[in-house]
C-alpha cells in the first residue's frame, strides 16, 4: 500500500489542461489537409491516390468542381505526397455540427489537357456562411485562447459545469456504441478516461446503459448486423439526447462506404448532432467534439 501511494505521489499530476491550453500533438501529426485552392493546378492526381474519395472532382462544360470532404478523410497524407498544393497540417479539432460543414468546394476553368486554368469560384465550405475552408467552430473555441493557467481552466470548467448542471443535472453521461468500427476509434475513446485526458474533470462520464445516457458516441460504419441494435439503443436513450458520430467511418462510411454489409454513415440510421472526423480522432479531437455538442443542447423548460 505504501508503494502504491509513493508511486502516485512520485508521478504527480499528469492531466492536460486542454482546452484551456492548446492541443498537444506532434508537429508532424497528420491532421486537416490544407489545399492552396488558388494555386491548385490539377485535382486529378490527389483524387487518384485518395483511398476514400475525400478529394473528388466532377467536370462539366469546361468547368471542374473539386471538393475536399473531411468526413471521408482518413488523414493518410497520400494526396500531399503527390500534389504540392496540398499540405498536411496537424490541426485535429475538426468537429462540425453538420456534415456539409466538413466539405469545401471550389470551381476551376479547365485547360485542354484537363489541368486547372484558373480558380473560378470558391473555395466555399458548403453550408457555412464563412467562405474560408475552416470548419465551423463551437462557441467554446471562439474564445481567445488564454495563456492557460489554473484560473482559465477553472473559468472554463465552471462554465461547462454550469451548463451541464443546468441541462443535464450536474453531469453528462455518455453511452458509447460501436456500430461496426475497426476498434481504432474505441482505443482513443478509452483514452478519454486515462489520467492525461480525464474526461471526468468536465463531469463527463461513460455509462453502461443507454437508459442512463445523455449522449451517444457512435462509431461506424453502421453494419447491417448492428443497425437494429443502434436504433434500439437510440430509442432507449431518454430525451433530450445527443448523438455524436465518430471517425471517418461514423461520419461518412469511410473506407467501407455503403455495401452489402454496411449502411455507411451513422446519420443514415439515426440523426447526428456533431461529426468528429479522424481516423481515428485523437482524444483532443473527441473532447472538442463532445464539448461542441454540449453547446447545442436545447435548454430544459
Amino acid at each position: 500500500m505504501f508503494e502504491i501511494l509513493r508511486k502516485s505521489l512520485e508521478t504527480g499530476v499528469v492531466t492536460t489542461r486542454y482546452p484551456a491550453t492548446p492541443v498537444e500533438v506532434a508537429p508532424n501529426a497528420r491532421g486537416r489537409p490544407e489545399i492552396d485552392w488558388a494555386h491548385w493546378l490539377d485535382a486529378r492526381p490527389a483524387a487518384r491516390v485518395c483511398p476514400t474519395g475525400a478529394i473528388e472532382y466532377a467536370d462539366a462544360a469546361g468547368v471542374r468542381t473539386a471538393s475536399l470532404d473531411l468526413s471521408k478523410c482518413v488523414f493518410c497524407g497520400l494526396c500531399a505526397d503527390v500534389d504540392q498544393a496540398i499540405r498536411m497540417t496537424n490541426q485535429c479539432e475538426l468537429a462540425s455540427r453538420s456534415r456539409n460543414g466538413l466539405i469545401t468546394t471550389a470551381r476551376y476553368a479547365l485547360n485542354p489537357d484537363g489541368s486547372h486554368a484558373a480558380l473560378a469560384s470558391g473555395p466555399v465550405a458548403a453550408g457555412v456562411a464563412d467562405p474560408g475552408d475552416r470548419p465551423q467552430r463551437g462557441r467554446l473555441q471562439e474564445q481567445e485562447p488564454t495563456t492557460g493557467g489554473t484560473a482559465a481552466l477553472d473559468a472554463l470548467g465552471a462554465q461547462i459545469r454550469e451548463r451541464t448542471a443546468r441541462l443535464l443535472g450536474r453531469s453528462l453521461h455518455i453511452r458509447e456504441v460501436d456500430a461496426g468500427s475497426c476498434n481504432g476509434c474505441e482505443i482513443e475513446i478509452v483514452g478519454l478516461n486515462n489520467p492525461i485526458y480525464d474526461a471526468e474533470r468536465f463531469g463527463i462520464h461513460f455509462v453502461a446503459s443507454p437508459r442512463h445516457a445523455d449522449l451517444l458516441l457512435v462509431t461506424g460504419p453502421v453494419t447491417r448486423n448492428m443497425e437494429l441494435a443502434l436504433r434500439k439503443t437510440y430509442d432507449a436513450t431518454p430525451e433530450p439526447r445527443l448523438v455524436v458520430a465518430v471517425g471517418a467511418c461514423g461520419c461518412s462510411g469511410g473506407m467501407f462506404g455503403v455495401n452489402y454489409a454496411t449502411r455507411g454513415a451513422v446519420d443514415a440510421v439515426v440523426p447526428v448532432d456533431v461529426y468528429i472526423p479522424g481516423c481515428p480522432p485523437n482524444p483532443h479531437a473527441l473532447l472538442h467534439g463532445i464539448l461542441l455538442a454540449l453547446d447545442r443542447l436545447p435548454a430544459k423548460r
Binding site: N183, N225, A261
Partner: protein, 531 residues
C-alpha cells in the same frame, strides 16, 4: 525456386505417399509449396502432416475460380513451424456439386472457418457436427457474398427476424444471461449467452460477426495500393500488423525484396504496436479486478507510446506508415532519439509497476487459476499467439518464420503451461521486456538504404501468403492477383477468429463476475474476426 532444406524431406514424403494423385506441385517461394489434388486426398494429407510432421492447419478458405478454371477452389494452408515453411493444398469443388467434407470432427480448429465457407460461398458442408450459420446471421437471405457473381453493392433488406437460434440449457436453478451486442464497457459488439447455475458458468454461446463489413469482398474492388489503407481498418489495434501482412503478400506475389532499412522500420513499428497494446491490456486486466491505480499508470505509459507513434509516423495508431514495397517515412536523428528516450524512461517505470502488480496478493488471488485454458484444449482448438503461449503452445512467427528484421535480433518467447489469466498477463509482461530488447537491437543495427522498392505492375494470377506475428498472434493474408493491378481474392485470417472458441472453454466453471477479466485476458478483436 530452391525449397528450404528442412522442407525437402516432408515434400518427398508427401509425394511418396500420394504418388501420382497431385495434379501439380508448385514452389513459388522457398517456404511456400502448393499441391493441387482432388478432394479425396484432403483427409490423408491432413493426417500425414499432423501426425508425422507436427503440421497444423492455420487457414482454410475458398476462392471462386469459376471464371478461369470452372470450379471453386478450397485452400488448406498448413504451417510446418519446425521446418519454417507453409504447405498449401488446393482442391477443386465443381459448381454442379457445391459441397465439401468437414474436418471439424478431427481438427476442431477449423470449425468456424468451414462454416464461414459454407455461408459466404454456398458450398455445403458434409458431416459437420454443427453446420449452422456462423458468418452470416440467421436472418440473412440466401446470398453468397464472396461468389464473383454477387455484387459488392447489392442492397439487402434490413435486419429482421432471428440472428441465431441459441441452445437452451435447462435444469433446476439453471438460467440464461444474455449480454450484448451493445456492451457495458467501451468495447466492440458481440452477443454472449451465459448459461449459469447460481454463479458458475455451465455453458457460453457466442454470436459474432456483428461488425461484418464485407472487407474481403471490398479488397477485390479496390486498386491494390488502396488495399493497404483498408488493411489498416481490419482491426484498428493491429493496423500496422495487418497492413504489413497485406504488403508481404503483395510483395511476395510481385517477387520483390523489401530493402533492409524498411524491414527494420517495420519491425520497430510492429514492436511499438505490441507495446501499446500489451501495456493497455495489463492495465485493463488490473482494472477488471479493481486494482485501478495500476491501470492509471499503465494508461499513462500507453499514452506515451501512442504519442511516440505520432512523433515517428504522424499517427498515434501507426496508420499511414505502411506502403507496398517498404514504408513511407524514415526516422530522423531526433525521432530516433525520442524512441531511445522512451525506452530509457519507460523500461524502469514498467519494471517498478510490474513489481507493484507482482506483489499485490489481492490481484494474484483473483488472477491465478481463473479462466484456465488447458494446454490440450488449446492445442485442439489451434489457439495462437499470446493466449497459446500462456497455455503451453510454443509458437511465434517472429522466431519460426522470421519476417522483416526478426532474423537480425535475438529475443526469447515466453511460454507457460498453466493457461490462467495470470499467465496471460505474465506473457504480456515478459513480451514487453522482449520488445524493449528488440527495439534497442534494431536501432543499433539500423541499416542504411532506401525506404521502399517499387512493386511495378502486379502480374495477374499469382498467389502468395503474407504473414506477420502481431501482438495478439499470427496474422495471415492470402491473395490471388487479377489483371490490371487488382486482387481476385484476399483472405484475411486474424488470430481472434482462431481464439474466440477458446474463451468459451476458459470460462467454464468460473463465475460470471470474472468473465470481464477472462475476456480481457484474451482481448480478441471482434472486427478482425467479423471483417
Amino acid at each position: 525456386m530452391t525449397l528450404l532444406p528442412e522442407l525437402q524431406p516432408i515434400l518427398a514424403d508427401l509425394q511418396d505417399s500420394f504418388s501420382g494423385r497431385f495434379t501439380a506441385v508448385q514452389m513459388p517461394r522457398a517456404n511456400e509449396v502448393y499441391f493441387h489434388g482432388p478432394m479425396e486426398v484432403v483427409a490423408g494429407f491432413c493426417a500425414q502432416l499432423y501426425r508425422k510432421w507436427d503440421g497444423r492447419l492455420v487457414s482454410l478458405f475458398a476462392d471462386d475460380a469459376r471464371a478461369g478454371d470452372g470450379v471453386f477452389h478450397l485452400y488448406y494452408v498448413f504451417a510446418l513451424d519446425a521446418a519454417h515453411g507453409f504447405f498449401v493444398l488446393r482442391v477443386p469443388v465443381p459448381p454442379d456439386r457445391p459441397e465439401f467434407p468437414s474436418l471439424t470432427d478431427a481438427i476442431h480448429a477449423v470449425n468456424w472457418q468451414e462454416r464461414e465457407i459454407q455461408d459466404l460461398f454456398g458450398l455445403k458442408l458434409l458431416g459437420h457436427p454443427n453446420p449452422r450459420r456462423c458468418a452470416l446471421h440467421d436472418d440473412w437471405p440466401e446470398v453468397y457474398p464472396l461468389r464473383k457473381d454477387f455484387d459488392l453493392h447489392t442492397v439487402l433488406p434490413p435486419f429482421q427476424g432471428e440472428r441465431h437460434k441459441m441452445r437452451t440449457v435447462e435444469g433446476e436453478g439453471v438460467f440464461q444471461v444474455p449480454v450484448g451486442p451493445v456492451h457495458a464497457g467501451i468495447i466492440e459488439p458481440g452477443h454472449f449467452l451465459f448459461s449459469v447455475a447460481g454463479e458458475p458458468v455451465l455453458y457460453l454461446q457466442l454470436r459474432m460477426f456483428y461488425t461484418h463489413k464485407g472487407t474481403e469482398k471490398l479488397f477485390e474492388n479496390l486498386p491494390v495500393a488502396h488495399g493497404v489503407r483498408l488493411a489498416e481498418s481490419i482491426s484498428g489495434d493491429s493496423a500496422f500488423a495487418h497492413a504489413t501482412a497485406f504488403c508481404h503478400a503483395v510483395e511476395r506475389a510481385a517477387g520483390v525484396e523489401v530493402p533492409p532499412r524498411a524491414r527494420a522500420l517495420r519491425t520497430i513499428c510492429l514492436e511499438l504496436e505490441r507495446l501499446y497494446n500489451h501495456l493497455g491490456d495489463v492495465g485493463a486486466i488490473c482494472t477488471d479486478v479493481a486494482f485501478t491505480t495500476a491501470n492509471m499508470h499503465m494508461m499513462r505509459f500507453k499514452e506515451r507510446v501512442l504519442r511516440l507513434n505520432e512523433r515517428l509516423t504522424g499517427n498515434r495508431l501507426l496508420r499511414g506508415m505502411a506502403r507496398l514495397g517498404g514504408v513511407r517515412f524514415d526516422f530522423d536523428a531526433a525521432q530516433r532519439a525520442a524512441l531511445v528516450q522512451l525506452l530509457d524512461e519507460l523500461a524502469p517505470e514498467c519494471e517498478s509497476l510490474f513489481e507493484l502488480i507482482r506483489e499485490s496478493s489481492g490481484l494474484r488471488d483473483r488472477l491465478e487459476t481463473t479462466g484456465i485454458l488447458k494446454p490440450e484444449v488449446a492445442r485442439d482448438l489451434g489457439v495462437v499467439g499470446l493466449a497459446g503461449r500462456a497455455s503451453g503452445i510454443d509458437r511465434d512467427l517472429r522466431r519460426d518464420f522470421p519476417h522483416d528484421f526478426y532474423d537480425q535480433v535475438s529475443f526469447t518467447v515466453p511460454v507457460f503451461t498453466e493457461g490462467d489469466v495470470q499467465r496471460r498477463l505474465v506473457v504480456r509482461r515478459e513480451e514487453v521486456g522482449q520488445s524493449f530488447a528488440i527495439l534497442r537491437q534494431t536501432l543499433a543495427k539500423m541499416p542504411d538504404g532506401p525506404l521502399h522498392v517499387e512493386i511495378g505492375v502486379l502480374p495477374a494470377d499469382r498467389v502468395a501468403l503474407g504473414y506477420v506475428e502481431g501482438w495478439r498472434g499470427e496474422i495471415f493474408h492470402w491473395i490471388r492477383t487479377a489483371p490490371g493491378g487488382r486482387l481476385a481474392r484476399c483472405k484475411i485470417k486474424d488470430p481472434s477468429l482462431q481464439n474466440w472458441p477458446a474463451l468459451t472453454e476458459a470460462i467454464l466453471g468460473n463465475i460470471i463476475p470474472d468473465f470481464p477479466v477472462v475476456n480481457k485476458s484474451f482481448n480478441l478483436s471482434y472486427s478482425g474476426t467479423d471483417r
